[in-house]
C-alpha cells in the first residue's frame, strides 16, 4: 500500500535560517507515528509543509504515491490531511455539533445553515469513534479531554486520512490519555494514519510503531518505538548525554525549615503534615486534581487553609496573602508561567526585578536605572539565561529561558523556601537539565525546595524525598533509592 504522504529531502529556510535541512518522512495508512524533537528542531515547519502552509525550498512531496508539485492548504485538506493544533482551534461559544460540522459554512454558494445536515455529520463523526457528547452543549462547558474529542470528530467529519496531533497529551490526566489512546487505536483500525508531535517521551509512544526524531532541522533517524527510552531519546534529540542518576547529595535532616501540621482546607486538601529541611529538595507528586497545586497556593498565602499550622524556622506564621509569604521567605513558581509567572510583553530584565523594585529605588524616589541594569545582568549571567538583549519581550524567549526568568524573579527576593510547581512544562530536555542544575545548586546553598511535578523521572532524579498526593491527601512518602520509576508511576495513577 502506498504511503499516505511521503516527503523526501525536504529543505526550508526562513531568511537565511535553515529550519529543515533535507528531511525524509513517511507514514502509511493505519500507522501511528511519532515526530519528536526539541523546540526549534523543525517539527512545526515540517507540519506546516504537510498542511500546505509553507512550500518547501527543495525536496519532493508524494501523496498516495503520486508526486505533488505544489501542496496548497486546500489541496492538503482535500488529500485528507488534518492538523489538530495544541490549542485545538475550537470555537468555545459554539455547540459541539457546530464545531464538528463548521466546514459546512465554507462550502461555495452555501448561504443558509442546514442545521439538520450539520447535526447529522456531527452525530456520524461521533458515532464513528464511539464518543457520545451532547451535540447542543457549547464547547466552553467541556473538559479539555472532551474538547480534544470534538477536534478529532471535526477531523473525521472532514474525511481525514492523516490526523496530525500537536502535543495531544500535554494537559490530560492519565485516565483521559487512556481514553484518547483507545480512540486512536480505533482510528488506526479504520486505516487512518495518526502522527503525534511531541518534545518528550510521551505516553502515546506506547502505541506508536515508528518514531522520527528531528534535531536542528536534520533527521536524527527513524526508530522502532520499542527500542527507545528516556535517556536514549534525550540523546537523539540533543546529541548530548544527560545523567539520569538519583540525587545523592545530602541535606541537613536536623534543620527543619518549614513544618506543616494537619493543614486542611475544605474541597482542597485534608490533614497535610510534612517537614522540609534546609537544603532539601522535597518532591510532591500526584495527578492533576490531587490537591498539589491547591496546597502550594496555601503555602504561598494565596488561599488560606481552614485549619492546621505552618511554621517557618520554628516560628508559627499566618500566611494570609502572598505578601506575608514573601516576607516569611517563601517564593513560588506557578504552574502556568505564561499567565501567572510573567508579564509577557515586558522585557526579561523588567520581569526579573519585578519582586524587588522597592529595593532598587534610588535618590528622589525613582528607580535607579544603573543599579537595575547591574542586577539584571547579574541574574542573566548567574542563571545562564540566553537572551540577545535583556530588553526584548520575555514572550519571545524559549520555555526554558522564560522559566529561568521566573526563577530569577524569586531568587532576587532571597527566599529560604522555594516552591516550584511543574517547573519544566513545555521546556526542552537540555533546558530541563539546566534548570535542575540550578535548583540543586540552590539546595546546596541551604534553600529548601518543594518540587511539585507529575513527571516521575524528574521527581525521582532530583528530590531527596517524594510525597505522593491523591485526592487531597498525602498517601505515601518514598526515598528515590527505594522505589523505581515504574512503581511510582503505578502508585500515582492508582485510583
Amino acid at each position: 500500500m502506498p504511503f499516505v504522504i511521503e516527503l523526501t529531502g525536504i529543505r526550508k529556510s526562513f531568511g537565511g535560517v535553515h529550519a529543515l535541512k533535507g528531511v525524509d518522512f513517511s507514514i502509511s495508512p493505519g500507522e501511528v507515528h511519532c515526530l519528536v524533537g526539541e523546540n526549534g528542531s523543525g517539527k512545526s515547519t515540517l507540519i506546516k509543509i504537510m498542511s500546505g502552509v509553507h512550500a518547501p525550498d527543495a525536496g519532493e512531496i508524494r501523496i498516495d504515491g503520486k508526486p505533488c508539485a505544489r501542496l496548497t492548504p486546500s489541496a492538503s485538506i482535500a488529500a485528507g490531511i488534518q492538523v489538530i493544533y495544541q490549542d485545538l482551534s475550537l470555537f468555545p461559544n459554539l455547540s459541539v455539533a457546530e464545531n464538528i460540522g463548521i466546514r459546512q459554512y465554507m462550502e461555495k454558494g452555501r448561504r443558509l445553515v442546514d442545521w439538520r445536515r450539520l447535526r447529522k455529520s456531527a452525530d456520524d463523526a461521533m458515532r464513528r469513534i464511539g464518543v457520545s457528547l451532547d451535540p447542543d452543549r457549547p464547547v466552553l462547558d467541556l473538559s479539555i479531554a472532551d474538547r480534544q474529542l470534538v477536534a478529532i470528530c471535526r477531523a473525521i467529519a472532514e474525511d481525514a486520512r492523516l490526523v496530525i496531533m500537536d502535543e495531544p497529551t500535554a494537559s490530560l490526566t492519565r485516565t483521559e490519555v487512556d481514553a484518547l489512546l483507545s480512540v486512536v487505536r480505533d482510528l488506526q483500525r479504520r486505516d487512518l494514519a495518526i502522527l503525534f508531535v511531541s518534545h518528550r517521551l510521551d505516553e502515546v509512544m506506547e502505541i506508536a510503531r515508528r518514531v522520527t526524531v528531528l534535531r536542528d532541522g536534520e533527521q536524527a533517524g527513524v526508530y522502532d518505538a520499542r527500542e527507545l527510552d528516556d535517556a536514549r531519546l534525550a540523546f537523539l534529540m540533543t546529541g548530548r548525554n544527560f545523567t539520569w542518576d538519583i540525587n545523592r547529595t545530602s541535606c541537613d535532616a536536623n534543620a527543619p525549615l518549614l513544618e506543616v501540621r494537619n493543614l486542611s482546607k475544605k474541597r482542597n486538601y485534608a490533614d497535610i503534615s510534612f517537614t522540609l529541611h534546609r537544603g532539601e529538595i522535597l518532591g510532591v507528586t500526584g495527578l492533576l486534581g490531587s490537591g498539589r497545586t491547591e496546597l502550594a497556593l496555601s503555602l504561598f498565602g494565596c488561599s488560606a487553609p481552614d485549619s492546621g499550622e505552618i511554621r517557618v524556622e520554628g516560628t508559627a506564621v499566618r500566611l494570609e496573602s502572598n505578601r506575608d509569604a514573601i516576607r516569611a521567605g517563601i517564593g513560588y513558581l506557578p504552574e502556568d508561567r505564561l499567565t501567572l509567572g510573567l508579564v509577557l510583553d515586558q522585557s526579561a530584565g523588567d520581569n526579573a526585578v519585578l519582586t524587588i523594585l522597592d529595593s532598587l529605588v534610588g535618590g528622589g524616589g525613582l528607580i535607579d536605572g544603573r543599579r537595575l541594569d547591574a542586577t539584571v545582568r547579574e541574574w542573566i549571567e548567574s542563571l545562564n539565561i540566553k537572551v540577545s538583549d535583556p530588553a526584548v519581550p520575555v514572550r519571545t524567549l524559549s520555555g526554558g529561558n522564560q522559566q529561568k526568568v521566573v526563577l530569577a524573579k524569586w531568587l532576587a527576593t532571597n527566599p529560604k523556601i522555594l516552591i516550584l510547581d511543574s517547573p519544566t512544562v513545555g521546556v526542552d530536555v537540555a533546558a530541563k537539565h539546566g534548570i535542575f542544575e540550578i535548583v540543586k545548586a540552590l539546595a546546596a546553598k541551604g534553600i529548601g525546595i518543594i518540587l511539585i511535578s507529575d513527571e516521575v523521572p524528574e521527581v525521582l532524579c532530583n528530590a531527596h524525598r517524594v510525597l505522593l498526593m491523591r485526592k487531597g491527601r498525602i498517601v505515601g512518602e518514598y526515598r528515590p533509592d527505594s522505589i523505581s520509576q515504574k512503581e511510582l508511576a503505578v502508585k500515582i495513577n492508582a485510583e
Binding site: D87, P92, L94, P138, K471
Partner: protein, 347 residues
C-alpha cells in the same frame, strides 16, 4: 479559551440557555407591575405605543451593535453615522421633498441613508482590520471625525419643516383612544423588520454563524480559512446601515433633525446591549437579550419620567442598574467556577 459564562450566545438550548433572559424579563415584569400601581399612565396602550415609537431607533441600533459585539469588535461611532445620515436625508427632504411625493420619496431617503451608513461603516471596518488597533479606539476617533466634519459642513443648523408625506409617516394599522391615534407606525414596523432580519442573519445564515465563530476564536477562524476582512467589513457596514435606518426612523418621529439629538446616546445603546448579556469579549449575546436590555432601559426612563423624577436622576439610576447587573453576572460566574474546581477529599 476565554471562560466566560456569557459566551454561551446562541447555542445553549432550553432553559439554561436563556437564564439571563428569564432573569431580565422577570426584572422588567416586576418593574412594570410597580410602575403600573404607582403611576396612572404606565399600563396603557397609548404609553406602550409611545414607548415603542420613541425607542424603536434605539432597538434598531442595538441590533447592529450586538452584531458588532458578537464578532469581537465594538463600534462607538454609530451615533455620528446616524446623525450624518439624518442630515443627508433632511437635506434631500428640504430641497426636493415636496416634488418627490410619497412612494418615491421613501425609497430615495432610505436609499440615501443606507448608502451613507454603509459607506461610513466600511470606513470603520477597513480601519479596524488594517490598523489592528482596538476597535474601541478606532471608532471613538471616527466618531469625532464624522461628527466634526458634519458640524463644519452644516454649521450645526437644525432642520425641520419637512413635506407632509414625511410627517404623516406610514401607518399599517391604527386605533383611536382618548382622542389620539396609535398604531403600527413606520418606526414600529422598521423595528420589527430589523429584528426579524437580524435574527435570521445571526441564526440561519452561514454568515451569521461565521460572525459568532470569529468572535469566539479569531485565530481558529483564520486557520479555518474564513475571510476575516470580509466578515469585519460586513459587521461594521451592517452597524452603519442599521444606524442610518434608525436615524430615518428617529427623524420621522421627531420631525426635526438636530446635531445633538443622537450623538451622546451611544453609551446608552451599548449599556442596553451589555445588559442583555452580550459579551464585550466577543462571541456571545442573543437578540432576545438585547431587546430585553433596550426594554429595561426604556421602561426605567419612562417610569422615572412618569414618577416625576428629575432627568439627572435617570442617569444615576441607569448607571446603578448596569452596575448591579454586571456584578450579579460576575458573582454568578465566580460561584460556578468555585463549584467546578473543588476536589472531593475522602474522609
Amino acid at each position: 479559551m476565554p471562560n466566560d459564562e456569557r459566551l454561551s450566545g446562541g447555542t445553549r438550548t432550553g432553559f439554561a440557555a436563556l437564564r439571563g433572559e428569564f432573569l431580565l424579563a422577570g426584572v422588567i415584569l416586576l418593574l412594570a407591575a410597580v410602575l403600573g400601581v404607582k403611576t396612572d399612565g404606565f399600563l396603557s396602550w397609548s404609553n406602550l405605543f409611545d414607548l415603542l415609537n420613541s425607542y424603536a431607533f434605539v432597538g434598531i441600533m442595538a441590533a447592529g451593535l450586538l452584531t458588532v459585539l458578537i464578532s469581537g469588535g465594538i463600534d462607538i461611532s454609530f451615533t455620528a453615522t446616524a446623525t450624518v445620515a439624518q442630515y443627508v436625508v433632511a437635506s434631500i427632504l428640504v430641497r426636493c421633498g415636496e416634488s418627490m411625493g410619497a412612494p418615491f420619496g421613501w425609497i430615495a431617503i432610505f436609499g440615501a441613508a443606507a448608502f451613507t451608513g454603509l459607506l461610513l461603516g466600511a470606513v470603520n471596518g477597513l480601519l479596524v482590520h488594517t490598523l489592528r488597533v482596538s476597535a474601541m479606539i478606532v471608532t471613538i476617533a471616527t466618531l469625532n471625525v464624522f461628527y466634526g466634519i458634519l458640524i463644519f459642513v452644516t454649521r450645526g443648523k437644525w432642520l425641520y419643516d419637512f413635506p407632509k408625506w414625511f410627517a404623516d409617516g406610514v401607518n399599517v394599522w391604527s386605533f383611536t383612544q382618548g382622542g389620539a391615534t396609535y398604531g403600527l407606525s413606520l418606526a414600529i414596523c422598521a423595528l420589527f423588520l430589523v429584528l426579524a432580519g437580524t435574527a435570521f442573519l445571526l441564526n440561519r445564515t452561514t454568515l451569521g454563524r461565521k460572525i459568532y465563530a470569529m468572535g469566539g476564536n479569531p485565530e481558529a477562524a483564520k486557520r479555518m480559512g474564513f475571510n476575516l476582512l470580509g466578515l469585519r467589513l460586513f459587521v461594521f457596514c451592517y452597524m452603519g446601515f442599521l444606524a442610518a435606518i434608525g436615524a430615518v426612523v428617529q427623524a420621522q418621529v421627531m420631525q426635526t433633525v438636530a446635531p445633538n439629538s443622537i450623538v451622546g446616546r451611544e453609551l446608552e445603546v451599548l449599556a442596553a446591549v451589555v445588559l442583555g448579556g452580550a459579551s464585550l469579549a466577543g462571541g456571545g449575546g442573543t437578540l432576545l437579550g438585547t431587546m430585553l436590555g433596550v426594554a429595561l432601559i426604556a421602561i426605567l426612563q419612562n417610569g422615572l419620567t412618569l414618577l416625576g423624577v428629575s432627568s439627572y436622576w435617570h442617569q444615576i439610576v441607569i448607571g446603578c442598574v448596569i452596575l448591579s447587573s454586571v456584578s450579579a453576572t460576575a458573582w454568578n460566574a465566580r460561584t460556578i467556577a468555585r463549584k467546578g474546581v473543588g476536589i472531593d477529599v475522602p474522609d
